[in-house]
Symmetry: C2
Subunit: 399 residues, 2 copies
């Protein structure tokens, strides 16, 4: 049982403070450095990019997480501190040290995240001056969400309140998505906080589970950044009986929803995107197969361009499915676009294409449902249309 919090954010949970400043890392005058802080020590979990080229802040945060404890996260936009060699590693450590000093913490209790240009060193003067200036506030979550943006057009935040054994706890989150700072990569950074008391092993497992059905099912352009990170801090201030594998269902359900909504917001704000596409595959032989099929269709260039033009193109969906490698029988395949059956048992169904086109072009979300009719495997993935603006945005020269 959970409800969403109006204007919920990463400081919605008890005991979390945040603040942000313009430290001068970005050339614009927007904020670019932020801290999320908990008034008491937290159990911490995280999932990081699977890219073998990992940025220095990712490597440092992985080290600091070996204790499964943390109390603050410092994050900057404008510079990814990736492909920066030994200097980058030293700068990442220094950034954590500076935040620890300010907050009277051990450096190991500080996690860090960076997003922005890769291959250029972190401007440590800006980081140092900026960290000094940050003022932490109880309602600082919105400022935090804005400071981590790159070319995101809107901040992405959410809060949920969960009833649990007669008490309640909250989960809040802030995310930045697929903006691009040339000559760079889209990076997803996500920060989730909760005042629930949670067992460390369960916290990590539940974050992995939630990420698998949300961020890992979202695709904008098929690329994986060097800096992608999802953090989850649980400070226990809600005073609930500790949540673990035996009683974690309500927590998991709310965390899933927080992650799915943030992932959908990210895809919807994908570079150049005009609409979200939700692809659900059911009837696959296994859930693994369903996941692969859904992701392949949601990420297929030809499906994405068809969506951009409002073309309910079952042929491109079927073809993407066919190359996904999942077990399928064409004569059992049904495809629905926005609840209209467009392919039945492998053959096209006559439908009013012009009406479907208008629906696709005027709604901000398109729904594709693919029924393989072979088994019980089911999964949902999210993608967006591929537009001319995406290409223009990502082709810009770097001078």
């Amino acid at each position: 049982m959970f409800e969403l919090i109006l204007h919920g954010t990463v400081t919605s949970a008890k005991g979390f403070l945040a603040g942000a400043v313009h430290a001068g890392i970005k050339s614009s005058d927007s904020t670019d450095l932020a801290i999320l802080y908990s008034q008491s020590p937290c159990v911490a979990a995280a999932v990081f990019t699977t890219n073998k080229v990992k940025a220095a802040p990712v490597i440092l945060s992985q080290e600091h997480l070996s204790t499964a404890q943390a109390q603050a996260i410092a994050a900057n936009s404008g510079c990814a501190n990736a492909c920066t060699g030994q200097q980058g590693a030293a700068d990442a450590l220094e950034m954590a040290n500076l935040a620890a000093q300010k907050l009277n913490l051990e450096p190991e209790d500080v996690l860090i995240a960076s997003t922005g240009v890769i291959g250029t060193p972190l401007p440590m003067d800006c980081i140092k001056g900026g960290i000094e200036q940050i003022k932490l506030r109880q309602n600082g979550g919105h400022a935090f969400a804005r400071a981590i943006m790159t070319t995101d057009t809107t901040p992405k935040e959410i809060g949920a309140r969960v009833s649990f054994e007669g008490k309640s706890f909250s989960i809040g989150g802030a995310l930045k998505g697929s903006g691009m700072i040339h000559p760079d990569l889209a990076t997803m950074l996500c920060f989730i906080s909760t005042d629930a008391r949670v067992d460390a092993a369960f916290l990590q497992a539940s974050l992995r589970k939630a990420a698998d059905i949300s961020f890992n099912m979202a695709t904008i352009d098929g690329d994986t950044s060097t800096n992608d990170s999802v953090f989850l801090l649980a400070n226990g201030m809600a005073g609930n009986r500790i949540i673990n594998f035996d009683n974690g269902e309500a927590f998991q359900e709310a965390l899933n929803e927080v992650c799915i909504r943030l992932a959908m917001a990210m895809v919807r704000d994908g570079e150049g995107a005009n609409r979200l596409m939700e692809v659900t595959v059911d009837g696959a032989t296994t859930q693994v197969e369903a996941r692969r099929a859904a992701r392949t269709v949601a990420g297929a260039t030809l499906v994405k361009t068809a969506l951009h033009g409002g073309n309910p193109n079952w042929g491109r969906i079927a073809a993407a499915l066919g190359r996904s490698g999942v077990e399928m029988a064409l004569d059992k395949l049904d495809i629905y676009v926005n609840n209209t059956l467009v392919m039945k048992q492998g053959s096209p169904v006559f439908c009013n294409q012009e009406e479907m086109r208008i629906t696709l072009l005027t709604r901000d979300t398109a729904i594709a449902r693919i029924c393989l009719n072979l088994g019980d495997g089911k999964a949902t993935a999210w993608g967006c249309d591929l537009s001319e603006e995406y290409v223009t945005l990502n082709s810009e020269d770097i001078t």
Copy 2:
């Protein structure tokens, strides 16, 4: 030892005739139906799409190839005869029968291929009338290459002459690539003919080998069509000692070159493409790893958009490499763009970005070389830039 034949084509090899007509399958007045015919029976080999959604002509040709023999191929553009159910299978068989009748062959000696709109039945009246009208000529290869085009902007043909044990034989080829007929898929069809006498098992193996380093290393938009087919007919009219696994080196070398050049021509003419990108990976732990790395980089959306903008973006190349899953050590990674070292041992190298941008934008081919410095694995892949035109072309509405 081989040399390219000036204006070489699919009828360059002895005994091959071809012809084409406008049968009315396409709404335009361009030719859309063609036959390639050999004056004597051929040993035949082919590779087909790995997509599980296979078009009817693919399934029929696979059946007819069970004997590893054929004497003619009938091909049409304008309709893919894919996702057309039992009617589609019957139409494919009828198309082979009609061609066999005309040519006095057994239906099993005719292979067929289709490309174009999917989900609509083959207009059999047009096929019937068209096949009757086709006139086969010794210099009909060019007409054949034009008739199979969809939105290709140029026909793609090649011929090579190979010296072999004091004699010579020829290999000719015609290919159509990644044109798109809305609401449809890009389809690659390739037809290769040779007058060499070749052992059937070796012919199939050599085609597989050549396809693996050419067509299978070419990417335009990451999609695999329902109709992709590569055919190779060998009629033996050159009178050479039979070519097999023991003496097949010269044949393999020439066939590789024919396939690589056709694949490069296909990518260069990819939809909306302005330039070709050749990605060579060396120093991988294995050749399999090198292939995966090269293909991932050549197909990465962010690399493709960077190329479109003339951006020598080593960061995007490194990131694509990192997510490709291949074994790598960042501190051993060197990257060259057009022979300029842009990343050395994982760190960026200062270079004149503006000069590189101009070079990228003014040349029709860009070369990326990635040295993993781990082992002996080496592979080359070909891709193209991703342009606004690609998106526009593939977003067009279908009415």
